[in-house]
Amino acid sequence: MLVSNSGPDAASRAAVRLLMQRLPSLSPVEGGASVEPIAPTDPPILRSAQIVEGSAVRAVKVPGASGATTSGFGAFLDGAQKVQVVAHDRGMPIVIGTVSAAVRVRVDRRMITWGHQPPRVERAIYLPLRYLPTLTAADVSTVAAQSKWRIVDTSTADKNGEYPSQHPAFLLDRAIRAVDQQREELEDRLAEAWCARGEAPLFIDGGISRTTSVASSTCAIGVIKSHRTLYVQGEALGIVMSLGKGERSSVFRVAPRSRSSVLSWYLRLRAPDGHDAMWGLVRVEVAECDRLSERAEEISRWVLAETTPLSLPDGRWDKMAYGVRDCEEFLRAIS
């Protein structure tokens, strides 16, 4: 996922002008300050997972992984988002969120945009309507109609019927989460479309368990770079943290609540010597299948093959495939 922070464009400024006509006390923010994604509030955790390859987690050297290995991935999917606080009305944040997602297909070793589903870019205005009493429903409709952007209320009650705090930072967090969610939806729609066509294996930047169709598709492979939740405990944790370059863990099953269960394993892409323990460590997710070891070895070889060319200068280059970086650069250009 790409988070960009360029200033407001002409369309954003036009949207702010529309709101200013209806909110006299609206105060635009110079430059439209971009907001970093909120730091996760949940603490990092270890979670147990069902080992499905053998009886215990162990390190497995991926056979046949070399510089000459051919990758079987035919495309890459990633999303991007941009969150800008463009104004505030007596402290209440007015946010414009831009989300985008694209599938980039590899043809003759070069990346091009998937022709069947064009890349998607969506924009929305995130307003805490409850705390903007002067803004009527008619005003909201008018702004939505004229800007052609969706209006998202960030002050709706949660499933318990409680309304959010009026604290501007809390409302901003809610807006950011809403943008996150919007981006994930875009990514999921593209992933579903890809899997429905059953084309070549798709490298998805992130997990695949959000939607059932993707989680069960043999052509969707998720590669997760962040490890706030580690699916190993005890001795298994030490084994995973000690994986050498080109080694993977045993396959385990990840079955989060409200999501589909998938098979997963850890894979070390680069030698961690001199780096932290997470250096070059990714977790791979695939759909449930038979002959897991063969599948894990095959996919691991593909993921290892994607370590060149380097995705520098991105700071996550130790784990990021070049195809994902290409997606992010593409989305940066169009959104």
């Binding site: 590899r106 093959a305 070049y322």
Partner: protein, 648 residues
């Protein structure tokens, strides 16, 4: 309409201007340095979509790689590993194009964003403003080559009004030696001129000075034309055949027996005319041959006196033993001898204000001319010259001076060009437009060095020739070393493959580094053209001339070696009368000196009489054959009487 092949891009660091813009293309697009493109603006201006035409002058390629080190790290320092990467890095082909033309032309604005298309033939005509002279009614286009890029073949035309005048004129061509590009280009361009120069603009001919090698010696002989060149000829509307009207002129060798040209093979002599001049012709251009240090004011005055009062006049003087009529170098030498002997007799130091030392010096220098220019200058005064006054349309007159001494070359060049100029001024040359082709301009019109008569003449043509219809086509290896006013006055400039040192001189600074690189690697048959209508140089291909190349001609028609006098006479006269045989020549010439025989040959060749044998024979003075004196009748000796006392 073809598909777009690129998009205009501009950034704050690399903005577009009214004269330059940038665009990117797909990796495999057929764009390269010299490609002409068209930009269609996205926004109409005054209801008209702007079209901008440009030529690619620079290209850039880069990837998203931030540091070369990243690539090294990515492949573990092993270049061979790079080939296994699953994905090629994102790569850009970014080009810079110089604007050739904007439509509408006003207001002149920076090039807008828009799609970029490969220029088609019609676009090329508009881009290079050729539409102004290819339209009905103007029709002054002279094909010079074919522009080729990405499947587009477009004929590039020069404007005759800017090539031969009166708007601009002259053509200069530069290129390294040995590729035959310069000579070939001129040969093809002359063929194109003869074919396409509008008849309503008058007649045209060319005088080519062959200053080195045999390249211009076989213009009337067919050469090999390859298939690819045939296609070019067809496209250019020029017939792939040798010149129909070619006349050659060359002086004799020093011995005077054979012509001093690569084209003196007996099979080629039918259109070769000897070039011989006498005293009168040479004296007009004495300053070409006489060194300034030799000829001071006093000597100059004496030469003027001779020109005005002695040559071709009955000259009498008390100091002379007889009346002189000086018509040849031999006559002049006799006159000098008489003057000096007369002065010696009188023990005088000066004659008619001319000091004896000056007279001796001038005699020495003038007499020396016939030695230095032997073969060209005749002692006898016989003149065989170019057909000034009767030049014919679409004819090439080649003057072969390749094997001559530098002095003789200078004399020939100076006199012929002066005569051409005189006749063009009087409008009686026979043609209205005349192209003079001179190679080796580095030698004849150098930027530095002495201000020679030849250089002055070239400057004069370059600066004033176009008003007379006298057009200079010049060539050299190093344009930077030619006099600036000569190349500066050339409206059209052609460039073949260039030497890197030459390209590093300031004159080429206006070209982009990529264009200079392309110039340094041009193939045979490729040229870069600058023409007054073109705002940027254009690259074209032209076909190999359909005439026999110099090397092939020299092999097929070997040069005649020095032969006996009789054989030389036979070879010279037989084209006029095929019945002449060697025994006949030997019989006629047996009693005469070599000089007399050569003089008779020259006179016959000049007159080209109907009865060659009779005319040739008539040139010799009558010599009564020696007859044996009749033996006097021996009288009988009377025997003395036996008793004669006085008898012995």
């Amino acid at each position: 309409m073809s598909e777009a092949l690129g998009r205009v891009v501009a950034t704050e660091r690399k903005p577009n201007t009214p004269h330059e813009f940038h665009f990117w293309t797909a990796i495999d697009s057929p764009v390269g340095i010299g490609t002409i493109v068209r930009v269609d603006g996205a926004q109409p201006m005054d209801g008209q979509i702007p079209h901008i035409y440009g030529i690619v002058v620079e290209g850039f390629s880069y990837t998203d790689l931030q540091s070369p080190m990243h690539d090294v790290l990515g492949h573990d320092g092993l270049p061979t590993m790079a080939g296994y990467a699953s994905t090629e890095r994102a790569e850009i082909r970014l080009y810079t194009a110089a604007v050739l033309r904007q439509i509408p032309e006003e207001p002149l604005q920076p090039v807008p964003m828009g799609q970029v298309f490969l220029a088609e033939e019609a676009d090329v005509q508009v881009a290079l403003r050729m539409d102004s002279y290819l339209r009905e009614g103007a029709n002054t286009g002279i094909p010079v080559g074919v522009y080729r890029a990405g499947g587009t073949d477009a004929v590039i035309y020069l404007d005759a009004d800017f090539l031969l005048g009166p708007e601009a004129a002259h053509l200069n061509i530069t290129g390294v030696s040995g590729l035959a590009t310069k000579t070939s280009a001129v040969e093809f361009l002359l063929a194109s001129l003869f074919k396409h120069f509008p008849r309503d603009k008058g007649s045209i001919a060319a005088v080519c000075f062959n200053v080195k090698g045999p390249d211009l010696c076989y213009l009337d002989k067919p050469g090999e034309v390859e298939k690819t060149d045939e296609v070019l000829y067809e496209k250019l509307g020029v017939e792939a055949k040798p010149f129909e009207g070619v006349e050659y002129f060359a002086p004799y060798t020093a011995k005077g027996l054979v012509l001093n040209t690569f084209r003196n093979n007996e099979a080629l002599l039918d259109n070769v005319t000897p070039l011989t001049w006498g005293l009168r012709e040479v004296l007009q251009f004495a300053e070409v041959l006489l060194n300034k240090d030799d000829v001071d004011a006093k000597a100059d005055a004496l030469i003027d006196f001779i020109k005005e009062n002695v040559v071709d006049k009955e000259f009498r003087d008390p100091v002379l033993t007889k009346t002189h009529r000086v018509q040849s170098f031999a006559d002049l030498d006799a006159w000098f001898r008489d003057v000096l002997q007369g002065m010696e007799k009188k023990d005088g130091e000066s004659w008619r204000t001319h000091h004896v030392a000056t007279i001796r010096k001038v005699r020495n220098r003038l007499s020396n001319i016939s030695t230095r220019c032997a073969g060209l200058v005749t002692d006898s005064g016989a003149v065989s010259d170019l057909p000034f006054g009767s030049f014919t349309d679409r004819t090439v007159y080649v003057v072969d001076v390749a094997n001559l001494e530098e002095d003789a070359q200078d004399l020939i060049f100076a006199r012929i060009v002066s005569k051409l100029r005189e006749h063009l001024e009087r409008r009686d040359l026979g043609v209205k437009h005349l192209v003079v082709f001179v190679d080796e301009l580095n030698k004849y019109a150098p930027g530095d060095g002495a201000d020679t008569y030849v250089r002055k003449m070239l400057l004069d043509i370059a600066e004033r020739g176009r008003y007379l219809g006298l057009v200079l086509f010049s060539a050299q290896q190093f344009r930077s070393q030619v006099h600036r006013r000569v190349v500066g006055n050339s409206g059209t400039a052609l460039f073949g493959r260039m030497d890197a040192d030459e390209l590093s001189t300031p004159g080429y600074a206006v070209l982009s580094p990529a264009t200079r690189t392309k110039l340094a690697t041009l193939e045979k048959g490729q040229l870069m053209i600058r023409h007054p209508h073109f705002t940027q140089p254009i690259f074209v291909r032209f076909p190999r001339p359909a005439v026999m190349q110099g090397r092939e001609g020299a092999e097929r028609y070997p040069q005649a070696s020095e032969i006996s006098l009789e054989a030389a006479i036979l070879r010279a006269l037989r084209p006029l009368d095929p019945t002449i045989t060697l025994p006949w020549v030997q019989e006629i010439t047996a009693l005469y000196s070599d000089e007399e025989v050569i003089r008779a040959r020259n006179a016959t060749l000049l007159a080209r009489p109907d009865n060659v044998k009779a005319y040739f024979t008539a040139q010799f003075r009558k010599i009564i054959p020696a007859q044996a004196a009749p033996r006097p009748m021996a009288g009988s000796i009377k025997s003395a009487p036996e008793n004669d006392p006085y008898g012995f």
